[in-house]
Symmetry: C2
Subunit: 288 residues, 2 copies
């Protein structure tokens, strides 16, 4: 069995092929240019490296509901040329294989659920805290999301006492998690990129506060067995502080599980959770 | 087929029996005193009015996970005598019928999903905004909640500009929805009970703001097809204002559906959503 993955991002598409043990056999980085050019390059790759099924994790907003006539389409993105573009259709037509399609963050959640930190649990939330903030939630093998995919990074936050940063979310300013705690928020707050800052910098105390609020909200809304943090912003250094703030914010209300077990960093190296999730979604199509 | 319902509340248990068309055949109000006395009165009622299965919607926190050894137990409640009390065990033993057990708000959600505003949708959230604020979420017939039931009313909120009310939540003060927008919050804010206030009172503007934030958070976290509001605080009068604030808070970010369709009041009269949900959960036990 050969499994295919497309991690469809706004700047690059990562395509990859794995065997049934999820060992990667081939991989390519394709720049995101026009839909016609980028999808043609994906098709070429999978013609050279044939697969039995394809899993696609895409930037959004995207139509991920299988029963929609627009299933597999990127929706109203601000990215030039890509709004209302059917991604799945041309790939399926050219390659004649079944294709799963979800968001990049859902794919990462599924990767952790099947092959990473969530291998032994039935419910998991994956957050990416990076250029954007997003979450994917899984319960008993199903993605949570009724009409569409979730947008957890844009839920409103209680500001940290005295934090008068005006926020970077073009829609919500300082009102949502993404506005306050994403990579661009760090850069706007400090004038430096997160990866160039010492982990002891004050800004990470703020980021830990907002991430703790994101984690507690997720716990109160979903009571997952695992919450996995990915993305470039949070490192092992912040985890103890985040867990401490989660406890403080909860203030004894809900009976929290052991936070060392509940809240972990992504366990799949090299930013590979989405690719592994895509493989596993492709496999699920074949095995039902 | 005879279906039984127990709405297990902190001040009263409502027990009821319905036929297979959900017509109520008998009903009784039992004051919540000690567990032994209250459960004995429930058992007497169902001995006089036999049923084939029982649905129980309980106050919480409660163990609702069927695979837990403590399934059917009220957990760490502050209510005297009721912490760690097994509710399902004595009922099943005395009545010898299968019993479903969930929270009162999950039961209401299920009632709306099967028999009320959610009859034509696959995903729904029910909020009660009353003495407390709580939510129940259903997707494709399953309750959302991995380890336990959710606690959506205690997620943190962004304060309304200039709202310096100190909040009534004993755990979270002015930080969570329940602290800011529940019935007791209205009373603490105004010195009057909500039902004694004119609907034009300023306080309902604040309550509409917080309810809109609750609704938008639910949409971003779950993208349900319906959000149903129950409880004593919100009336038809506030709905247009809540929908307006939801739109303002979203600010064009997520592609919201028609809010007149998405956001509605409970459609089951006389506070009956939980009872109807209990009947439907009992029926599901019999019919699989």
């Amino acid at each position: 069995m050969r499994l295919g993955s497309i991690e469809a991002g706004g700047t690059k598409f990562i395509v990859a092929v794995a065997d049934e043990n999820y060992r990667i056999l081939a991989r390519r980085r394709i720049p995101t240019t026009t839909p016609a050019e980028t999808l043609a390059a994906c098709i070429s790759f999978f013609q050279e490296n044939p697969v039995n099924a394809l899993g696609i994790g895409s930037f959004g907003p995207a139509e991920i509901k299988r029963d929609s006539p627009h299933f597999g389409t990127i929706l109203n993105t601000p990215k030039p040329n890509w709004a209302q573009v059917d991604v799945v259709g041309p790939l399926k037509q050219a390659l004649q294989v079944p294709a799963a399609f979800t968001t990049d963050v859902n794919a990462s959640a599924y990767g952790e659920y099947m092959l990473g930190a969530g291998k032994k649990v039935n419910s998991l939330i994956y957050f990416t805290v990076g250029t954007g903030i997003g979450g994917g939630a899984i319960q008993d093998g199903h993605f949570i999301g009724g009409r569409s995919h979730t947008e957890m990074g844009h839920a409103f936050v209680k500001p940290y006492s005295g934090d008068d940063f005006k926020g970077v979310c073009p829609y919500h300013g300082n009102q949502c998690f993404e506005g306050m705690a994403s990579g661009p928020a760090i850069e706007a707050r400090t004038g430096q990129r997160g990866e160039d800052l010492e982990r002891s910098a004050d800004v990470f105390k703020l980021i830990s506060y907002y991430t703790a609020q994101l984690v507690l909200a997720a716990y109160l809304n979903f009571t997952p067995e695992k919450i996995v943090l990915g993305g470039s912003v949070i490192s092992q250094t912040e985890l103890p502080q985040i867990r401490k703030v989660v406890r403080e914010l909860n203030n004894g209300y809900v009976d929290l599980p052991d936070l060392d077990q509940l809240l972990v960093l992504t366990s799949i190296p090299d930013n590979g959770a989405a690719t592994m999730g895509n493989f596993a979604l492709a496999r699920r199509l074949l095995e039902g």
